[in-house]
């Protein structure tokens, strides 16, 4: 059979293609006549129109099942994660003291990040709440909207507030501030009515040595219950999450230091094997001094 296969010359192939694209005898374009094309296109137009409608309908039904304000399920967010600011790639805070540019971007980011915490803005938008207890705003049958948020003033961050600070959060002096924040989770009563705080430490022994001393703002890395629960960005429009600033005072220069901060709260587990950021955050700190 092999020898029966006629080898087509290039010209024939081109010719066949031409005829396929436009056959002048049968007036067929790509194997179909004009009316045939019209009909098939009409069919697909209707068919796909119908499918689109069907898809839209089911999506609409789906959207009916979810509320605008709170997600239907939150099982994945049982343990909120921790995160640091400045946000850097691979979570390493590298500061070349002499090289302004190396930390200037961190400073810019922090400035922007902390803007919302300015006392003036906080005073203007948020309430002064009673510390030590949850600031609950139940709907009680009527939508209680928008919900109020509690003030977290930038000044609470003390030396790390960056206000009137010539050291730029300590970056220019090699004593950088790193801000720890806990991920927002709607209706999460962090701490289960007991006070909670953030602690930091070197990951290994040598890290602890290299890390040196640090101070935390608010003191002891305390996070107050009044910032919880969070009601979602629709309701809790001006919510500013509580922060803990850590100022590292005398990190051994020119060494990479692994720092781990975790939250001590009754209802937040910090030992999830798989999720390295559940209730804790690990980052690298390196101060380069010449």
């Amino acid at each position: 059979m092999v020898n029966r296969k006629e080898k087509k010359s290039c010209g024939q192939v081109v010719e066949e293609w031409k005829e396929f694209v436009w056959n002048p005898r049968t007036h067929q374009f790509m194997g179909r006549t004009g009316s045939s094309w019209a009909f098939i296109l009409l069919f697909y137009f209707v068919f796909y129109g119908f499918l689109t409608a069907m898809f839209t309908l089911t999506m609409w039904v789906l959207l009916q099942t979810v509320s605008d304000h709170t997600p239907k399920y939150q099982d994945r967010l049982a343990t909120p994660g921790l995160m640091i600011r400045p946000k850097t790639e691979n979570l390493d805070v590298i500061v070349n003291v002499s090289d302004t540019e190396s930390w200037d971007q961190h400073v810019q980011k922090l400035n922007k990040f902390l803007e919302a915490y300015n006392d003036s803005i906080q005073a203007q938008k948020n309430d002064v709440c009673r510390p030590g207890r949850y600031y609950e705003q139940p709907d009680n049958g009527v939508l209680n909207y928008p919900k109020r948020a509690c003030q977290f003033n930038r000044t609470q961050l003390g030396d790390c507030s960056g206000l009137g600070d010539p050291t730029h959060y300590g970056y220019s002096t090699g004593q950088p501030c790193v801000f720890i924040k806990m991920n927002r989770v709607i209706n999460f009563y962090a701490g289960a009515n007991q006070s909670m705080n953030v602690t930091c430490a070197g990951k290994r022994d040598e890290d602890a040595e290299n890390l040196g001393g640090f101070v935390m703002f608010p003191a002891n890395g305390h996070i107050d219950l009044m910032y919880f629960p969070y009601y979602g960005k629709q309701f809790h429009v001006n919510y500013t999450q509580p922060l803990v600033a850590v100022k590292f005072l005398n990190v051994t220069p020119n060494v990479e230091v692994n720092v781990e901060c975790r939250i001590n709260a009754a209802n937040i587990a910090t030992d999830d094997e798989r999720d390295k950021f559940a209730g804790r955050v690990a980052f690298k700190l390196r101060i380069n001094k010449t």
Partner: protein, 1032 residues
């Protein structure tokens, strides 16, 4: 086998090769494919013994010297058939590893490793996911390859049958001494002695012969013994009587011959190399699967490359683009399909084996279904391969004998006195005997010592008259003599008259009875009277006329006619003590009394006519190709319906209209009988014309080479050709055919080895079953493939959407493999159990170039209709899972970059923040949801694929129980994967909320309803728009 010295092709190459006759040895050593089809080229039969001695440098009396023989042995090699070149097993194995989709998957696996390499060079601690994925893909390829290799390894080797025929020892004269040497050591020029029972050890030119008869059936397929003598009786070496062929059997007598060809150069050796030289054609289903692989691979590669380019131009990193490419390939390739097809085919093969069709080559299962021409050998396939008495003529009347397999009801009138005399002659004038110790065996199955005609007569008389051996004992044989006919050359069975003289069993009658049988016209010559109604009457003009009419009529039926006569010797002249002498011929051999005629035929098997009719209604053309005489062939063809009752050949028309054959318009003749001689002079165009214009064709007197040419001619008509046969002579054609079918009982080993299928019960009717099964499996494979292809779109769309819209990846590569190799496998096999939708045996066979396994409507309908619906359904589930966890559909678009970043406070639609791992888990939940959605919709897909035209409710939802096993398996596997193994991170699956299993159900229902609508319109408007565009 007449005049087939040279090939039928009159081209230039042919002529030039004829000119080089003398150098044929050299030529044959390196013959090309074209030359293989030539006929054996010999002229030794025409040479005198002196010339032969000169030619081969030997001495007829003393034989070769041992030294010379050793020299020749070195030159020519041993007298054995050379085994075919075998592909090493490892090559076969590796071929399986790179065939089909394997290349694509290897490519995917290598891309995975490259991707890891790139990752590693950036970040040595990067995850090994891609390495694992690559390994999984490689394992999939290797396992599929091993599976296919195992299937292929089962098929057997063709040469084995030929080597079994090699005779072991030969009695040779060397150095003027008789020696027994292994037959492999024979060389040309050796003088060999053979005797009854021997296999002929090489091609021999006979130098002397004493009553030698050979059975050439292994060569020609005809089991009629042929006499051998030392005269050249025919120009054609295959027809002449003075050549004995390698591997044929000497039945009786002795002969001396000179070896003229050994090993592969013998006639049988040439046929053997012809069979192994014929390339294995790709089976139609292999071509279809290749076609389908090309389509899918084409889609995969072009989509892959398109989206690779899109991804790169969308500023995706190259690494990401490579991973997209892998995903697209894996999604596109139905990894489990080829294994599924193999399983489906082997299921059918098993089913056929139960019905006595043993399939050696799995793919051949389908070939029979697409067969459009069956070239059937006559002897042993269509007929019983047993001479049987078909008609009797006595008292001026023709009687029909029962020729069915058991001779059960002989209906003719047995009261006439003529019959009594005839029966006596039949019983007595017969040398055949039953082998002893077969008392319990039915008569027709008893083994007989004797030639075919005598066997037929013996069994015939045993059935009608009773214990033949007893009758013979009572009519003791005084003398027996073959009477040679001086007019004809010796050895011809038909010209031989057989005479014996017996005492009679009547104690009062002491006359001797002379009984004689032989060729009717010769018997008549010896007679002066004829017996009518038990009375002897003078043989006058009118009774001679009646005899000739009957003789012509029976001969015209293709039957071999024998005449019978007897004579009671007067007791006065021949007293009891009279001593008869064969040599002196001291008894009368003329003026006998003519009693009657018997005609013998190898009758058709009783199941054949029905099977032929069924083939015909299934649109299959049945062609008879036989080595037998045209008249016999035509008669059998008529009786089995290969030439139907009302159709005529050109010759018939000529006879009816009383005009010359040339004047007949060839188009008027539906039937044609073509002999090998005519075929020889035909160009391939003329052969094509015959094959195209006649619906009922018989080829008679064909050689193995011509059988090959006929098969090729049929294949040129784009037909799928099945060849049935049993002899060695059929084996090249069996091999060449798209499907070779050998007879299991009567078939020679060579034929069985060359064949793709063996009919264990030798029943031609089993072919019909095979055709039905083959057609069914083709339809069902279509369904399987349509089912499997559909979900490819649902697997592919996620990647495309992921690239273009930047959603978090809806389904992972590993998850796709879980569908392709997990949930989908059993359901797609289950479709192989589906019953036929309509009467498939009343449809034409599929056209091998037009009715493809995977055609455009199938691809479009699977991909763009059902596949798209599945994708939409799966996406709805995906969006549901994300939306209910906090990522609303609109929010997802473009989220991909941040989603995949190592960012641990990604905000969702509600302002909540997610860590990387939390998102990862969510992504796996998405995979699981997408997986479950596809699975749920594949259930609907499976149900709709049960039929292509009929409504599911016509087909019966519950008739095929295996489908439900398939559905159950899908659900159970999915449940296990989600709930049982959901906690194994490597699988990327999670425990899914129960309600998500039902989200895609509306789409599943839509698929079912839509398909019912499609089928409704196809049934309602056959040939209409839906039928044209939507029927696959």
């Amino acid at each position: 086998m007449k005049d087939i010295q040279n090939s039928g092709k009159e081209d230039g190459q042919e002529k030039s090769s004829r000119g080089r006759k003398d150098t044929c040895w050299n030529r044959k050593k390196n013959r090309q494919k074209q030359e293989i089809k030539e006929e054996p080229d010999l002229d030794d039969h025409k040479l005198s013994s002196e010339d032969l001695e000169k030619k081969y440098g030997t001495n007829i009396v003393a034989g070769l010297s041992s030294a010379r023989a050793a020299e020749l042995l070195v030159r020519d090699g041993p007298n054995a058939l050379s085994p075919p070149k075998e592909t090493p097993e490892i090559i076969k194995f590796l071929k399986q590893m790179v065939g089909g989709f394997s290349i694509l998957l290897w490519f995917g696996a290598i891309l995975c490793w490259i991707a890891y390499g790139i990752q590693y060079s950036h970040d040595p601690s990067s995850s090994l996911d891609n390495v694992y994925l690559g390994a999984v893909l490689a394992v999939v390829v290797i396992l599929t390859g091993m599976f296919a290799y195992y299937q292929e390894a089962k098929s057997t080797n063709i040469m084995a049958g030929f080597s079994k025929m090699i005779p072991r020892q030969a009695l040779v004269i060397r150095d003027a001494e008789k020696k027994t040497i292994p037959a492999e050591q024979l060389v040309v020029g050796d003088i060999v002695e053979i005797k009854g029972g021997d296999q002929i050890p090489a091609d021999l030119r006979l130098l002397s012969s004493q009553g030698c008869k050979v059975d050439n059936s292994s060569l020609t397929g005809e089991s009629e013994p042929q006499g051998r003598s030392c005269e050249c009786t025919h120009d054609n070496p295959l027809e002449t009587k003075n050549i004995g062929f390698y591997s044929t059997t000497c039945l009786e007598g002795t002969a001396t011959g000179m070896v003229i060809n050994t090993g592969d150069r013998t006639v049988i050796g040439q046929i053997a190399s012809l069979a192994s030289g014929v390339g294995n054609e790709k089976t139609p289903i292999a071509i279809e699967i290749e076609h389908f692989v090309h389509i899918v691979a084409g889609v995969a590669v072009s989509l892959g490359i398109t989206f690779f380019i899109i991804a790169v131009s969308m500023k995706y990193p190259v690494l990401d683009s490579i991973i997209f490419l892998i995903g697209i390939i894996v999604a596109n390739v139905p990894e489990g399909l080829l294994a599924t097809v193999t399983v489906a085919l082997s299921l059918t093969a098993k089913r056929m084996a139960k019905k006595n069709c043993l399939v050696k080559n799995l793919e051949a299962v389908e070939t029979l279904g697409s067969t459009s021409i069956i070239c059937s050998d006559k002897t042993g396939t269509l007929t019983q391969n047993r001479m049987t008495v078909a008609h009797l003529w006595f008292d001026n009347r023709i009687f029909v004998a029962d020729t069915s397999e058991d001779h059960s009801n002989q209906m003719f009138d047995q009261s006439s006195g003529t019959w009594a005399s005839l029966a006596k002659i039949i019983t007595l004038c017969n040398r055949a005997e039953f082998k002893t110790g077969q008392e319990s065996v039915p008569i027709m199955k008893k083994i007989v010592v004797g030639d075919a005609s005598e066997t037929a007569l013996l069994k015939f008389s045993e059935v009608i008259v009773g214990d033949v051996m007893e009758i013979r004992k009572r009519n003791r044989k005084e003398m027996e003599a073959p009477i040679n006919n001086t007019l004809y050359p010796a050895c011809s069975i038909l010209s031989l008259l057989q005479l014996s003289i017996h005492e009679t069993d009547d104690p009062d009658d002491n006359r001797f009875l002379v009984v004689m049988k032989g060729a009717p016209e010769r018997i008549l010559e010896k007679c002066s009277t004829i017996m009518i109604n038990g009375q002897e009457q003078p043989l006058d003009e009118s009774s001679a006329e009646a005899f000739h009419t009957a003789y012509m009529e029976l001969g015209g039926l293709g039957e071999r006619v024998l005449g019978f006569c007897h004579l009671y010797l007067p007791a006065e002249e021949f007293p009891e003590t009279y001593s008869f002498d064969t040599d002196a011929m001291n008894f009368p051999t003329s003026n006998l009394c003519f009693v009657g005629l018997l005609s013998l035929i190898d009758p058709p098997r009783s199941t054949v006519p029905d099977a032929v009719a069924k083939c015909r209604s299934a649109g299959i053309k049945v062609i008879m190709v036989t080595g037998d005489h045209p008249i016999t062939a035509k008669a059998i063809a008529r009786s089995v319906g290969i030439i139907s009752a009302n159709s005529e050949t050109a010759e018939d028309i000529a006879k009816r209209l009383n005009i010359a054959v040339e004047q007949v318009n060839k188009r008027d003749a539906k039937a044609a009988v073509v002999t090998g001689m005519e075929l020889k002079d035909m160009s391939s165009e003329q052969l094509d014309e015959i094959l195209a214009n006649h619906s009922e064709i018989v080829f008679a007197r064909t050689s193995p080479q011509q059988k090959l040419i006929i098969v090729e001619g049929c294949q040129r008509q784009d037909a799928v050709v099945a060849v049935t046969g049993d002899g060695v002579n059929d084996s090249p054609a069996l091999k060449k055919a798209d499907i070779g079918i050998a007879m299991g009982i009567a078939g020679s080993d060579a034929a069985k080895n060359a064949a793709d299928m063996v009919l264990l019960d030798d029943n031609f009717a089993s072919i019909v079953t095979g055709v039905e099964e083959g057609r069914l499996i083709f339809d069902n494979l279509k369904k399987t493939i349509a089912y499997t292809l559909t979900k490819n779109i649902a697997e592919l769309c996620p990647f495309l959407i992921y690239i273009v819209l930047g959603l978090p990846l809806p389904i992972g590569t590993i998850t796709i493999l879980f569908i392709d190799l997990g949930t989908d496998i059993i359901p797609s096999v289950a479709l192989a159990y589906e019953k036929a939708e309509s009467d498939i045996m009343n449809q034409k066979p599929r056209h091998k170039k037009e009715d493809r396994l995977v055609n455009r409507p199938l691809a479009i309908y699977s991909y763009l209709h059902i596949g798209l619906m599945q994708s939409l359904g799966a996406f709805v589930v995906y969006f549901t899972v994300y939306a209910q966890e906090g990522f609303r559909p609109g929010f997802l678009i473009g989220l991909r970059v941040d989603w995949e970043k190592d960012m641990n406070d990604l905000e969702d639609s509600y302002g909540q923040e997610w860590t990387r791992y939390q998102r990862q888990y969510q992504e796996w939940t998405g995979y699981t949801a997408f997986f479950v959605a596809i699975m749920v919709q594949q259930i609907a897909d499976l149900i709709i694929r049960k039929t292509r035209r009929n409504s599911i409710f016509q087909q019966g939802l519950f008739r095929n129980k295996v489908i439900w096993v398939g559905i159950a398996s899908q659900i159970i596997i999915a449940l296990i994967l989600s709930y049982g193994l959901g906690s194994v991170t490597a699988l990327n699956l999670t425990m899914l909320r129960p309600q998500y299993w039902f989200v895609a159900v509306p789409f599943a229902a839509l698929i079912w309803v839509y398909d019912e609508v499609r089928k409704f319109y196809i049934r309602r408007y056959p040939g209409g728009w839906w039928d044209m565009n939507m029927y696959y």
